[in-house]
């Protein structure tokens, strides 16, 4: 549904987006990750036809966004960053306007408005002016606008930004549910969100795609992936690290915490260790009192940091 090829955007001398390519099919939710200023919003603005690209193409459902903008925009709903909405209108008026400009009228319009009001829980503020809404409601109002015509393609720029945890949860549920039938791109810098919602994720840094895969695949890139954490009681930390260091599958052992006679260590696997490491660590710790033993899945935030941090900052850390 969404096809992006070599998309580029320059602002003056700065290359904000530098040759980004990806595609999203129906039934996929693509997470767009990256530090602030990496080019996420700029990419989305080009995909939605707000900014003309300096190079490359983007097409929605086969319609090029530059050549056939109207047809392409018809298939798409868009929630811009910061969820702008006309402050002088009521929520009801704003949604009606959005429905009308999407070509809905009469009963179809009424039904569409009722449907999104229910989906986004806007009933309590329906006749309130947008200006007086709390941030959460304003966000949901703008979100409602983007799905009012039940589009095949959704582009959401930080849809959960500024919401409280309950609202975040609601919106994520909604995105995941809609993602079964639509092609969705959404950007975020909350990593847990990627796990909760995305079928695929792209990490973008300084205008380029630096990683692309399922959340599971991305986690595999973490050096934590497959590491085993062990907590034992009543043994000296030096003894634990020494013993585990001799296990053949273990690359290195780090001490995480030593407190109240309990020692927590983490053993990182050699590349060929796979799932056998937990077994091996368990064997080695057989005589100790094990309080906890589990394998790490790899952590997205660690992958994210190691990929997107400038080299100098990495050395300093």
């Amino acid at each position: 549904m969404i096809k992006v090829q070599n998309l580029a955007k320059t602002f003056g001398a700065k290359r904000a987006v530098d040759g980004v390519s990806f595609s999203v099919d129906r039934g996929e939710v693509l997470g767009f990750l990256g530090p602030n200023g990496a080019g996420k919003s700029t990419t989305m603005r080009m995909v939605t036809g707000f900014l003309p690209p300096s190079g490359g193409t983007a097409s929605i459902g086969g319609f090029d966004i530059v050549e056939h903008p109207i047809q392409a925009k018809r298939l798409m709903g868009y929630l811009p960053e910061n969820a702008p909405a006309y402050t002088d209108m009521t929520v009801y008026g704003f949604l009606n306007f959005a429905a009308e400009i999407r070509g809905l009228s009469g009963d179809a319009k009424k039904q569409a408005v009722t449907r999104v009001v229910e989906m986004c829980f806007l009933e309590p503020v329906l006749h309130q002016s947008v200006e007086t809404l709390s941030k959460g409601y304003r966000h949901r109002t703008c979100f409602a606008q983007s799905i009012i015509h039940d589009p095949d393609v959704l582009v959401l720029d930080e849809p959960t930004d500024g919401l409280d945890p309950n609202q975040k949860h609601e919106i994520r549920q909604l995105i995941r549910r809609m993602g079964q039938k639509k092609a969705i791109i959404f950007s975020t810098h909350i990593l847990e969100e990627v796990d909760a919602v995305c079928s695929r994720a792209i990490i973008i840094d300084r205008g380029r795609i630096v990683a692309n895969g399922t959340p599971q695949e991305l986690r595999q890139k973490s050096e934590w992936a497959g590491a085993v954490t062990l907590r034992v009681k009543g043994v000296a930390s030096s003894a634990v690290t020494a013993r585990l260091g001799q296990v053949p599958l273990v690359k290195r052992v780090t001490l995480v915490e030593e407190k109240d006679g309990r020692v927590t260590v983490r053993a990182f696997p050699r590349s060929d260790a796979n799932s056998a490491l937990a077994q091996a660590v368990g064997e080695a710790a057989r005589e100790w009192q094990i309080e906890q033993l589990h394998s790490e899945e790899g952590r997205l935030d660690e992958v994210f940091r190691s990929i997107t941090m400038p080299d100098t900052a990495k050395e300093a850390a």
Binding site: R45, L51, K73, P80, P84, Y86, M89, F97
Partner: protein, 248 residues
């Protein structure tokens, strides 16, 4: 006609926006007060003993509009850019032209409404004497066209900036030029220091020159064309400015 449906949707929204804020009412009240005050107290309409609205009423319009029309037009694009709704508007399945024309039409209709509300003037002069109502009608048409020209210029100014104040000032400056280019004292100076051709050329850009015909009851196609081409050119400039912003 999808095009006009889209334009009309935008127009309806903009008109609604005027009337939900106090701006619309303030504007109409000020406009009517100014009209009344200048007609009766400054131009001494009642003492003149003449059953005509041209001099005492319509003569002031280019000057009223100088401040009032930029005030109406300043928010059109500046506010969209400041709040960020421009990103919504321009990613809807409409063309930039439809949005530009829709917004312009809304404000122009609003100015038309303000103008229509001066009808007690017409009733008064008809009660007191027997004026040439044809002249009054053409003068109204001319006044509305002139307001449209000012408004289109305000659109350009509004598209240039995020700040409504800056947009207002720019619009007033350009409109002031359009008035002064045909203001007799300025023309005299021009004729003294430059050739008559240059003075004619400059004068031909003035709203004053082109409004005069309407005030005499003449619907000259050149005058109509002048106002319409100012509107057309300004709206085109607006579209170019909006596009350049996005081109980065």
């Amino acid at each position: 006609m999808n095009t006009w449906r889209n334009v009309w949707t935008i127009t309806k929204r903009e008109l609604g926006a005027y009337f939900t804020s106090p701006l619309a009412y303030i504007f109409i009240v000020i406009f009517l007060l100014l009209c009344g005050f200048f007609t009766f107290f400054v131009a001494r309409f009642l003492d003149a003993g003449e059953a005509s609205l041209v001099r005492p009423f319509f003569d002031w319009h280019p000057w009223f509009y100088l401040f009032l029309v930029p005030a109406v037009g300043m928010r059109l694009w500046a506010e969209e850019r400041r709040v960020g709704t421009i990103e919504l508007l321009l990613t809807m399945p409409i063309t930039a032209w439809q949005a530009i024309v829709g917004k312009f039409l809304a404000s122009w209709l609003f100015l038309g409404l303000a103008l229509v509300l001066t009808f007690p003037m017409v009733m008064t002069v008809n009660y007191l004497g027997s004026p040439d109502n044809g002249v009054i009608l053409t003068a109204y048409v001319g006044s509305w066209l002139m307001a449209g020209a000012y408004l289109a210029i305000s659109c350009v100014a509004s598209a240039l900036t995020r700040s409504q104040v800056v947009s207002f000032i720019i619009a007033v400056m350009i409109c002031l030029f359009l008035i002064l280019a045909g203001y007799p004292p300025v023309i005299n100076v021009l004729e003294q220091f430059a050739s008559g051709h240059l003075a004619d050329f400059v004068t031909s850009f003035s709203v004053m020159t082109h409004f005069e015909g309407f005030q005499k009851g003449v619907l000259d196609s050149r005058d109509i064309l002048f106002f319409l081409s100012v509107i057309g050119f300004s709206l085109f400039t607006t579209s170019v400015i909006l596009r350049t912003h996005r081109a980065g």
